[in-house]
Symmetry: C2
Subunit: 363 residues, 2 copies
Amino acid sequence: MNRPRIPRQSDIARLAGVSQATVSMVLNDRAGANRIPETTQLRIREAMAELGYVPNIAAQSLRGGRSGLIGVHTFERVFPTAPDDYYREFLNGIEERAVESGLDLVLFASTRKPDGTRSIYGSGSNRMRLADGAIILGFEKNDDEIARLADEGFPFVFIGHREVAGVAIPFVTADYAAAMTPVVRMLASAGHRRVTYLAAPLRGFAQRERLEGFETAATGAFEVLSVDVRDTADVTADWVTAQLAAGATAIVAETFDLARALRLALDSAGFTAPADVSVISLDSDPRGEGPFSHVRVPRRAMGRRAVELLLAVIDGEGDPSASGSGSVRALAEPVHCDPPTSETVGAPARQAASAASPLTIAL
Amino acid sequence: MNRPRIPRQSDIARLAGVSQATVSMVLNDRAGANRIPETTQLRIREAMAELGYVPNIAAQSLRGGRSGLIGVHTFERVFPTAPDDYYREFLNGIEERAVESGLDLVLFASTRKPDGTRSIYGSGSNRMRLADGAIILGFEKNDDEIARLADEGFPFVFIGHREVAGVAIPFVTADYAAAMTPVVRMLASAGHRRVTYLAAPLRGFAQRERLEGFETAATGAFEVLSVDVRDTADVTADWVTAQLAAGATAIVAETFDLARALRLALDSAGFTAPADVSVISLDSDPRGEGPFSHVRVPRRAMGRRAVELLLAVIDGEGDPSASGSGSVRALAEPVHCDPPTSETVGAPARQAASAASPLTIAL
DNA sequence: CGCTTGTGGTTATACCTATTAGCGGGTAAG
DNA sequence: CTTACCCGCTAATAGGTATAACCACAAGCG
């Protein structure tokens, strides 16, 4: 009805008997620098309170060139249908850190190609531009789009190791390789000498780093009995039984879904961990605590780090490839993974028992 | 290195040999109204594509135009820590519908008071203005902030029934009351005559509508043995046992967390549903399929509807209290809930059995 | 010829903020 | 005696967009 218009600085200025510029200075605590006396400041603040002034964010953004928005682009859905949400922890960290810096998150829902898949340039122009920068996550490889993005000078950051020919891409990853050392040490000191490495079919950076790190760390400690690349559907009771029969006393699962599959396989074969076999997952389960002792992939911390890295890239005059600020380099360091706890790690089961008695149950 | 500055409308204009105003018109499809011929439009669009133009959100907002952004504000965290994410399905629907309209979502993470709680005006400014409108969800009551928001004429919409004195607030809710009819019918036709209603301590609109709807529907069909307001922690094996001993043959759980608690209580008391007692939950579990037959709260559809309602409010010249467009009214209708399936509904157990035999287990 | 109508745009302006340059007289430093 | 700097502010401006108001010209009509 009687909406008296949202008050702006000039309204305050009139009420306080000063100019709009003075109001702006007092508001932004530049009053000291420009020697506005306390009395005037007080008058202005009173007027602000009286009118209920709230700065117009659009005008601030326009003036300052920054919108205070951080884009988040996922090549898959942002809010997945399954309650089993792989991105959730990353987003958690991103949100948390964004809150701390007073930034808002833009989910680029509009970036969608007609066929339903996500694409940055699919809808014509790069809507991402409306944010100050973006964090990109997802497995799909879209090298050309990413190269173009970098070429435009748009500040962005990946979560997960990413390499595109000819373009230096800032990304946040975890130190998977280093995390393998405590895993190997834990197994070795428990007495294991023959270990099966259950590997995922998808060989991304994360998987390759785990395997390489594991093999390196295992050298001299124990024998990696087999590196078995296996789809979750093929992780069966029979497979587990065969591994134990072959002499493995411990199994290492490369990813959380392999760990889940392994849990089911163990159950149906009638084995328990660590009584019959020791198990460590090299990945944490997004659903919460996984079925086994596991390396703690610091997804939340990675999300936080991504925001920090992005801010550094934005401030670093947008050129991530420049020898640039040391902070960018430091922030791009892999994030430390916490070592696994030892619930499902024990002494090796006696071979005869592990090979024979459960078999009768399994068959 | 050679960043040629982000292109603006005047850059396009120069390239296409027209004025900036013309570019704006073509961009916003006002070209028809102002009779810009196809050929000119084409020239302008080509120039846009060539320069990779993206509108400046801040400028658009400042000017009062549309930014293509829909705000999402939650008084709690957007991405909660628990994998058990209550908002997820709403957000799913919101995202889905936003994609269809080519809108992007802004998660207002910055709206946070110093003490960590969320507040719209707490951080000093109403960042929401950046968006064309906002969808607000959350349980906290912040009547003054909401009233202020409405007073400013900012278009927003609630998910969940919301009432603030003196302000007409558009909201999206589900038709809980109507959903009670099939529940009652299902129980009654299975032969139940004495039913316990397990109610949540928090008596929000959703809870009150369920209870009232249930009582109304139950009139003449069966006796509502007791309406028991109970914290989840107090839903124990003993409580269940007492209910059955008192003659209840069915229990209705008002919320998903009560349903979960009830599941645990039944388990520990050694009862199964529907053999010993029939159970229906009046709420669906955000984690997926809940432990019992349940009314399907269409959260995803509500999310979609919220976007539609918001768009209507935005188009309705920002005054939701105006007698306004019929579409707003239609969109504000409660969303239909699908009736429960009947897995955990069966014939009433014989009273003697249900009262005696499990007791020995429970004690 | 004088008038209207239509065409294809252009000019000017408002939106609101943050910042730079400056006002003109006095005092301190060189 | 010149220069520098202080006071407490204000005026002017930029930032990119959307829109109302306008304009010059041409065609049609009587």
